[in-house]
């Protein structure tokens, strides 16, 4: 590791703080500082004027804005994200309970997408003009045009209704089974931990369609970046030197070209996470997946706004942290990152 890596990491951490602050400010603005009466929002559609006034006082919505902001931040620090009108439960509690479902989906989709997009991009770059190259270009152009809700529905129709291979898109687990004891919240891992293979298989089957739908969506940017990056690296000077030194084609391609080409791909991961978190909302709706996205949608339909704002805040914070993670990862793997750069 180059000297100063720790300092660079700290710098990145500090750079993430303004973004976190921005997220909090925006959600505050969305919650409180809007045209119309926020109290009416939080009291719900069916509330009487008295109930609305009560809510206004309770939530401190009659106080001056700066004071409201401080109260808001203080409440967040306490873990108070508000309470859901429909379920009566604290929002944070429900978000935390449902987060593992969303995370399992996102992680699996990212793995699948990389497993396809990385080799596709690499092969398209090493065999320009071949069918693989054409396929890559089609995937890249078509992929960004796909509406996730559409692909999800089409896949459900084909693989569930027509072919009967996939189970009904009704959530995380067939009601016949009960979920594994909670360790990580990720069913695949938890089921493996207790060694219950039929349960693992049942969980896996439910995961296939939503994962493929999400993976299809993010295949395009990853494949595009991999191909472009690999093409650029392959035409660079040091590859010519490597070839002139007689290094085998595999060494040149993998140890020299690929490692260098993957660096810019890591930087696109941040953007990819953003796409996935956004599309998870829709995918959870299509497949009845009990994650944070469907929680927010259900609340939205019921005009229950506290969960929605809590969801937006949570997603914002999660995204900032994920980006920070990607930044730190990049700092670790690129030896050229030093204090001076």
């Amino acid at each position: 590791m180059a000297e100063g890596t720790v300092s660079v990491a700290l710098r990145r951490l500090l750079a993430a703080l303004p973004n976190l602050a921005g997220v909090i400010v925006i959600t505050f603005v969305l919650t409180r500082a809007l045209p119309g009466d926020p109290a009416a929002y939080f009291a719900g559609g069916a509330a009487t004027q008295e109930a609305v006034n009560q809510v206004r006082q309770q939530l401190g919505l009659d106080r001056p804005l700066p004071e409201q902001f401080l109260r808001y931040v203080a409440a967040l620090a306490r873990g108070d994200f508000g309470t859901s009108l429909t379920t009566g439960q604290p929002v944070l509690q429900e978000l935390v309970a449902r987060l593992p479902a969303s995370i399992e989906l996102v992680l699996l989709a990212l793995t699948l997408a990389c497993a396809i997009a990385l080799p596709l991009g690499v092969m398209a770059a090493t065999r320009p003009g071949s069918w693989i190259d054409q396929l890559c270009r089609v995937v890249t152009t078509a992929g960004v045009s796909l509406p996730t809700f559409f692909t999800g529905l089409v896949l459900s129709y084909v693989f569930y209704f027509l072919l009967g291979w996939a189970p009904a898109p009704l959530g995380r687990l067939d009601p016949v089974f009960s979920p594994p004891p909670q360790v990580s919240g990720l069913y695949l891992i938890d089921a493996l931990l207790v060694g219950d293979l039929p349960l693992w298989w049942a969980c896996f089957k439910q995961l296939v369609l939503p994962t493929v739908t999400m993976a299809l969506f993010v295949l395009a940017p990853i494949a595009r970046m991999t191909r472009a990056s690999m093409l650029q690296v392959l035409s660079s000077d040091f590859i010519r030197t490597a070839r002139a030194s007689g290094l085998s084609a595999t060494t040149v391609r993998v140890r020299y070209a690929l490692r260098n080409a993957l660096l810019p791909v890591v930087t696109t991961l941040g953007m990819v996470f953003g796409f996935m978190l956004g599309s998870s909302v829709i995918i959870e709706k299509v497949f009845g997946w009990p994650g944070v996205g469907s929680y927010a949608i259900d609340a939205l339909t019921a005009s229950d706004y506290a969960p929605v704002q809590g969801f937006v805040l949570a997603m914002g914070v999660l995204f900032v942290l994920l980006n920070l993670g990607v930044d730190l990862l990049y700092t670790l793997i690129d030896p050229r990152i030093t204090l001076d750069n």
């Binding site: 040091f238 070839r243 030194s245 007689g246 290094l247 690129d334 030896p335 050229r336």
Partner: protein, 339 residues
């Protein structure tokens, strides 16, 4: 005088590039010889084909390049007809190449010592007969020795350095170390000093020539700088627009250049006592090599000795001659009758 067969014998080498805007006749009937332990300078303007020649011999040309004739004999193998497997064995081991812009020519995210070891490992040098950690130790020692051979101080520590941490001159030394690690018989140096400052240039050239003499290694030194070639090469081959036009031992070339282009090149190269007024440029420009109606001698439009015959045909550069020239009316021969 016993004549040793040349280590590298290029004969009648022709090459073309197929591009979207036409076919470029990049090299035509090039003859070139490098003897064992000899330092030959390949001099010419940009676009004269000097780099293309070496890339084609090593088999690392652009995909659009196509050899259309000739041979390049090296150790009994015709490089131009050899298959990739054969070339892979030769590259880095029997024939090595170093490039310009050394910092970008090295892998930016790999320690330089590791890059030397990659080549050593590939050609199983220093690991033959050893296995496991013993082999690894052999590689490490050999790599450090390679760094020491190119006069890099504190080689044990420098092994771990990345190219961006080293100066341009140091990077070039590392590249030389990589090239020489397996003890090749021929080194091709493609403009190794371009981009370096003058003092570093001299240091790098001194290093290359001393290593070449020490190991009796043949060197093909490609450059556009005639002055530099004059200082370090035993023999110089002048190239113009894809043709090899003159070949002579350095003192002979400078005493009596015979090709009009060589003479022009010399009068445009500054020496220690030149003034701006005394420098004469070579008139005109390189011809567009995509044209299908190129004259036989490509210098004909810029030459004051040109005759109609020069457009029709061109004598080949005699491969075995001490001082050969590819011209009907070389300087020093009877003056052509003016039409």
């Amino acid at each position: 005088m016993t004549l040793q067969p040349p280590l590298l014998d290029v004969q009648d080498f022709s090459l073309e590039f197929r591009t979207r805007s036409g076919t470029v006749q990049a090299l035509q009937h090039v003859n070139l010889r490098v003897g064992k332990g000899e330092i030959v300078g390949l001099v010419g303007e940009s676009g004269s084909g000097k780099s293309v020649l070496s890339y084609a011999m090593l088999g690392i040309s652009d995909a659009a390049a196509k050899v259309t004739g000739g041979s390049a004999m090296f150790g009994g193998i015709d490089l131009l007809k050899a298959d990739e497997a054969t070339l892979l064995e030769l590259r880095g081991r029997e024939i090595s190449m170093i490039f310009q812009s050394p910092r970008t020519a090295l892998n930016p995210i790999r320690p330089v010592g590791q890059q030397i070891e990659d080549v050593l490992r590939r050609h199983a040098v220093a690991t033959r007969g050893r296995t496991g950690p013993d082999a690894a130790l052999g590689l490490r020692e050999r790599a450090i020795q390679a760094l020491r051979d190119v006069a890099i101080a504190d080689p044990e520590r420098r092994w771990h350095a990345y190219p961006f941490e080293l100066s341009g001159g140091m990077c070039q030394r590392v590249m030389i170390a990589i090239a020489l690690a397996c003890g090749p018989g021929l080194l091709i140096a493609d403009e190794p000093t371009t981009g370096l400052d003058v003092t570093t240039q001299a240091a790098v050239m001194d290093l290359i020539t001393s290593l070449a003499r020490e190991r009796e290694m043949a060197t093909l030194f490609i450059t556009h700088d005639l002055g530099l070639a004059a200082d370090y090469c035993d023999r110089i081959v002048v190239m113009h627009a894809g043709h090899a036009v003159e070949s002579a031992p350095t003192p002979a070339l400078f005493a009596q250049p015979r090709h009009p282009y060589t003479a022009r090149l010399m009068s445009s190269t500054p020496g220690a006592t030149s003034t701006l007024q005394s420098l004469l440029p070579v008139p005109g420009q390189l011809p567009d090599l995509r044209r299908s109606d190129l004259p036989a001698c490509r210098f004909v439009d810029r030459c004051e000795r040109a005759q109609p015959r020069c457009r029709e045909s061109l004598p080949p550069l005699p491969p075995a001659a001490e001082h050969g020239v590819a011209c009907w009316y070389p300087i020093g021969a009877p003056e052509p009758a003016h039409a």
